[in-house]
């Protein structure tokens, strides 16, 4: 815990001025708020003694003046400390996101997005609560408690002790309840996420549910989740219902004790009535620090747990760069694989085994094979989304691992298997690969040209705002084929030396596919291309075709030689010809 908190220190040091200022304000505000009950003592005692009214008026004015001063300090306390916590939150969020950008692809596969999101949002806000409100309340309550008790002791030490008797119960109670409430709350959250999963599945699978007439069964399944959720909530309610009344009862007991013992003191004359009244006021002032203290402890516990969860991500190793000392020359685009084998962590078999090929700059390599045969893995290794073993993959004769990552990627345009679009404009999506913002005439013409190349122009002219149409939930929903072509246009616009297409036309119909292939012909003349495809039409004029099965190259050659071989490729070609003819009948 201490170690984790130490890691937080640099962020706090960065805002040390407002924090110091805020803490100083707490000191003054606390001092002031403790003086005003004292003034009350003067009022009551003065009244009994028959002091003149102007004097009492001064006391009254004094109370207002103190409230103003107290308010001013509390204002600065809040703006400085909470403001600082917002700054820390900002720094942490920026740092967290920057670190996520450095993490390798494997990390995002091993960790669910929802989990990372919750660390970046819920946990971050718990950390902020710890460095902001918790710190503020801790400082002000600890101080308030010490001073109030000191003053009460100065009035009457014995009465103070008596009054404090029930109060440890308050703090202990707050801690006990706080922890139990936290546990039950976690159980509720867990059930909420189970219930959400039930809803999500039933809604996303609405076709299956309806087709099999399972609406009543789904309603019953949801009812079970709903019942359990309510049951757990009621468990929390039973605790919460007892929590605050218990606190009130404890303070009340202090009040009763003071009334009895203090009242006796006043009768005996060992205490003035004014002191008695002031004492009561201090007791009320004490109640808040004691509640807040238990609350602060919970905030800190939660904050530390959350910070540790965030540190798990921040401590995950980023992509390792081991550039060789050799001077890297501009990439021309020759690719070579030498006995490349690759196995996913935890897998029992190789995803790729002993794959070798040589591709000159400007040539086209095509890879075909069934799902799971290792095609995408090869593309991901080339673009170093995954780390190939050393000495297996070379670009321009240099191991891809030896080149600075940014340099390697600056020479590549990749269209991944699943076209990923951001929920911004179509134009912005196409422009994503270059460091320019969508909107200027220049970018518009660039985007229009890329869209032309990806056979997307006709689709775009059908959108309400053309390239300015927003993609996604708040805008247009693109079909799978349209998404793939936007991703293709994005890659084409970057105009890189090496073009990697990972099954990019699976959702595009055959007519559009051949139009795209036609457009690609020009690009392919001057660029190195690696095309992963299911359809023969996309690969037939490649310089080299690899047929993969279970990670091994089982056939290799050109279209003609492979058809002549009459193996798997030829079989695939025959089937597809028939299927295509059916589809175009």
């Amino acid at each position: 815990m201490i170690k984790a908190l130490e890691r937080l220190l640099p962020y706090i040091t960065r805002v040390r001025r407002p924090v110091a200022l805020g803490l100083a304000c707490i000191l003054f505000a606390t001092a002031i708020s403790l003086v005003s009950p004292w003034l009350l003592k003067f009022v009551v005692d003065g009244l009994l003694r028959g002091e003149d009214r102007t004097r009492l008026a001064w006391y009254a004015l004094g109370i207002v003046g103190l409230a103003v001063a107290d308010g001013a300090f509390r204002y600065f306390m809040r703006t400085q400390l909470i403001g600082a916590s917002r700054q820390i939150e900002y720094d942490l969020r920026a740092e967290f996101f920057a670190h996520l950008e450095r993490l390798p692809q494997a990390y995002f596969e091993a960790n669910r997005t929802g989990d990372l999101m919750s660390r970046a949002t819920n946990d971050l806000s718990a950390v902020r609560m710890m460095v902001g409100p918790a710190l503020m309340y801790f400082a002000s309550t600890a101080l308030g408690f010490v001073v109030a008790v000191a003053i009460m002791c100065s009035i009457d030490a014995r009465l103070t002790l008596i009054a404090l008797l029930p109060l440890p119960g308050v703090t202990l109670g707050t801690r006990y309840f706080g922890r139990a409430i936290h546990d039950r709350f976690e159980r509720i959250q867990a059930q909420l996420s189970d219930m959400s999963a039930v809803v999500q599945e039933a809604l996303a699978g609405v076709r299956v549910v309806r087709a099999y007439g399972q609406e009543p069964a789904e309603v019953a399944r949801f009812a079970r989740a709903n019942d359990e959720y309510v049951r757990r909530n009621r468990g929390l309610i039973r605790l919460q219902a007892a929590f605050y009344p218990t606190l009130t009862l404890c303070f009340g007991l202090s009040g009763v004790l003071v009334l009895w013992f203090g009242g006796r003191d006043v009768m005996r004359g060992t205490m003035t009535l004014g002191e008695f009244v002031a004492f009561g006021r201090y007791l009320v002032l004490l109640s808040w620090p004691l509640i807040a203290f238990g609350w602060v402890i919970n905030l800190v516990q939660r904050g530390v747990a959350s910070w540790e969860r965030m540190l798990e991500v921040l401590d995950a190793p980023g992509i390792v760069e081991t550039p060789s000392t050799a001077v890297s020359t501009p990439i021309r685009g020759a690719i070579e694989a030498r006995h490349l084998s690759f196995r996913y962590p935890g897998a029992e078999t190789d995803a790729l085994s002993d794959v070798s090929f040589v591709l000159e700059a400007g040539e086209t390599l095509a890879i075909v094979g069934a799902t799971g045969s290792g095609k995408s893995t090869l593309v991901q290794l080339l673009s170093r989304l995954r780390e190939p073993p050393p000495g297996t993959l070379f670009v321009d004769g240099m191991d891809v691992r030896d080149r600075p990552l940014a340099e390697l990627r600056a020479a590549m345009a990749v269209v991944p298997q699943e076209a990923f679009l951001f929920s911004e404009t179509v134009g912005g999506n196409i422009l994503f690969g270059v460091d320019a913002d969508w909107g200027s005439d220049e970018t518009r013409s660039l985007v229009a040209r890329a869209a032309e190349g990806a056979v997307l122009s006709d689709d775009v002219s059908g959108f309400a705002d053309r390239f300015d149409t927003v993609v996604g939930e708040r805008g247009i929903t693109l079909s799978g084929g349209q998404k793939q072509r936007v991703a293709l246009a994005r890659a084409m616009l970057t105009d890189r030396q090496i073009l990697l297409l990972d099954d990019t036309m699976s959702a595009v119909d055959t007519a559009t596919e051949s139009a795209i292939l036609h457009q690609l012909r020009d690009v392919r003349r001057s660029r190195t291309c690696v095309i992963v495809a299911h359809r023969i039409s996309a690969v037939r004029d490649a310089d080299l075709i690899l047929v993969l099965a279970a990670g091994r190259v089982i056939e290799r050659g050109t279209h003609e030689s492979l058809v002549a071989l009459n193996g798997l490729y030829a079989d695939l070609e025959r089937r597809q010809r028939l299927e295509d003819e059916l589809a175009h009948a």
Partner: protein, 589 residues
């Protein structure tokens, strides 16, 4: 988690909405009355305490009456215990009632979603609909528990304190109340400004979350295109705005609480000034003065509380509006008044000049007519977007046609009892949808009629038994999120087992396009033979092997049925294709 939050309406309070929400309280009238009573009693108990102190000071302490003081202390103690019980009961009853109401609302919304037609689902993303059932309903919790009743409690306390003060000394009470306009004005100022900044913060949090979620999912794209730097800058811009709006909003909170304190102090000073004067004249006692100072402090608390609760109330109102939005959407596909359930349903399918568009504008099917006799196997081929899946959607009455008729066993599907209609069909989709739960649950779904033996038989028939038994737990083994632990082929086999277990008269098959590895491919082809045998089959076919198995092939092109001439190199046992001009289908040659 819902990433994109729904906007907050500008209006804070909506009487119509409130009235509707209150109707949910009606079945719990007894409990609510009880809780209201408990609130009254607990605030009464709290109110009496300063009075006790006053009595003790003025009567017993001043006179040195020890037994009197003891009596007062005992009463005080009794009040404390009484207050404890009343407050406990109040919270327990209220919150439990709240939970019952939320339970009911959740069930209502969910059941209603099960009734709404697929067109509704097309228009509303699943994430949004989920929010209605979960987060939105939970937001109402505040309204029922801390909202309606505690606001009432606060108002009661306020009134009680005012009455008590007026009763003790009306002149001094008026002095204390003189600051009221000031405090109302401050509360109004606070509420207005905080509401505005709250809206802005919410909007920014939604943007931050959306950006984060999206870029976490698409991190590969960011990294592949070397856009880390620029993405960081864009994230930084939202992050900065979020920070600045938050810091700006601190101002209102930082000023509000001290202002309330200052006004309370002013009120206290006024009480002292006038109170001491009148005490000197003997019009009031010192005890009354002390009690007044205590009351005046409690007096300002509810006002500050009410202002703070306003935001919560507003968010709850917005949620209520969205929930009622769902509940008020009438299901568009209604069961007929007199649903028909043909006695001997055999699954004769007939499309009679069917026209259909998802959006009433772009027709996906144009004048499509064909007939499938019981026992026939029909393959549908055609390019993406030619309307193949739509045929299945119409048969199952997921949508209603614009023109023409879809008949099953001679009865228009719109006249069928929809559940009986769907029971005729077994649907196997391209993307296999799996539910969390065991393998057995995924085969039988919710159908308890299908026993374990039937499940095992079905799984065995489609070659799924072996891989299921290889898993620890076998049929009782639970699936990870969306069946992540299964391969594509295994999921496909599971969906076949599901279809087989339901033993439908007609099999509707939307075949997966992408090929799987060769070993699984063989299993799948074989399993397909099993589930198709003895049934009418309507298959969107991609695999050559499936196409070869068909008696008839329908070719769809841009929503129209094409003639058979276009097919060359096509010899196997099937005959082909119907024209759109007549409803006959060429059968086996």
């Amino acid at each position: 988690m819902s990433v994109i939050d729904d906007p907050l309406p500008a209006k804070g309070y909506d009487a119509r909405l409130m009235r509707r929400l209150v109707t949910y309280l009606r079945p719990h009238a007894g409990a609510v009355t009880l809780a209201a009573g408990a609130i009254l009693l607990s605030s009464a108990a709290e109110l009496v305490q300063p009075w006790i102190t006053q009595q003790a000071i003025d009567r017993d302490i001043a006179r040195g009456d020890v037994p009197g003081l003891a009596r007062m202390v005992t009463i005080y103690l009794g009040l404390l215990v009484f207050g404890f019980v009343a407050e406990y009961a109040q919270t327990l009853i209220l919150q439990t009632t709240g939970q019952h109401i939320l339970h009911r609302l959740r069930a209502q919304v969910y059941a209603h979603l099960q009734k709404l037609e697929l067109r509704y689902y097309d228009r509303h993303p699943v994430g949004r609909l989920m929010t209605r059932v979960t987060t939105d309903v939970d937001a109402l919790n505040e309204l029922f528990t801390s909202g309606v009743i505690t606001v009432l409690g606060d108002l009661l306390a306020l009134t009680g304190i005012m009455v008590a003060m007026l009763f003790m000394n009306w002149r001094l009470a008026l002095v204390a109340f003189s600051v009221l306009p000031l405090i109302l004005w401050v509360a109004h100022w606070f509420r207005t400004n905080v509401r505005e900044s709250y809206r802005r913060v919410r909007g920014l949090v939604a943007r931050l979350n959306a950006f984060l979620q999206e870029h976490l999912t698409g991190m590969a794209v960011v990294q592949l295109f070397n856009q880390e730097e620029r993405t960081r800058r864009r994230f930084g811009a939202i992050n900065r705005e979020h920070r600045d709006v938050n810091i700006a909003s601190i101002f209102y909170y930082a000023l509000f609480y001290p202002l309330i304190e200052i006004i309370a102090a002013v009120s206290g000073a006024l009480i002292i000034w006038y109170g001491t004067g009148w005490a000197r004249e003997g019009t009031i006692t010192v005890g009354v003065l002390v009690a007044f100072l205590q009351y005046s402090r409690r007096f300002f608390q509810p006002i500050a509380d009410l202002s703070e609760k306003f935001n919560v109330m507003q968010a709850a109102m917005a949620a209520a509006e969205r929930i009622f939005g769902v509940l008020d959407t009438p299901p568009a596909l209604l069961d007929p008044a007199a649903p028909v359930v043909p006695a001997d349903a055999r699954g004769r399918i007939q499309f009679d000049h069917v026209w259909f568009a998802y959006d009433d504008e772009h027709f996906v099917l144009k004048d499509v007519s064909f007939t499938i006799e019981p026992g026939q196997r029909v393959g549908i081929v055609g390019a993406t977007g030619s309307g193949k899946t739509t045929l299945i959607n119409l048969l199952l009455r997921f949508y209603d046609v614009q023109r023409g008729r879809v008949l099953v066993d001679g009865v228009d599907v719109r006249e069928w009892d929809v559940r009986a209609l769907r029971r005729l069909f077994g649907l196997v989709l391209q993307d296999v949808h799996l539910f969390s739960g065991t393998i057995a649950d995924n085969i039988r779904l919710g159908e308890q009629m299908i026993d374990d033996a039937a499940i095992a038989r079905a799984a065995d028939a489609v070659h799924a038994h072996d891989f299921i038994m290889a898993r620890p737990g076998g049929y009782a083994s639970t699936l990870a999120e969306r069946g992540a632990s299964l391969s594509v082929g295994q999921k496909q086999l599971l969906s076949f087992a599901r279809a087989l277990a339901f033993d439908p008269a007609v099999l509707l098959l939307d075949e997966a396009t992408s090929s799987v590895d060769t070993a699984t491919e063989v299993l799948i082809e074989d399993a397909l033979h099993v589930i198709m045998s003895g049934r009418t089959v309507l298959a969107i076919a991609h695999r050559l092997s499936t196409i070869q198995d068909m008696d008839v092939i329908l070719v769809l092109h841009k929503g129209e049925l094409r003639s058979r001439d276009a097919i060359r190199n096509w010899s196997p046992r099937a005959g082909c294709i119907t024209g759109s001009t007549n409803s006959s289908i060429a059968t086996r040659q």
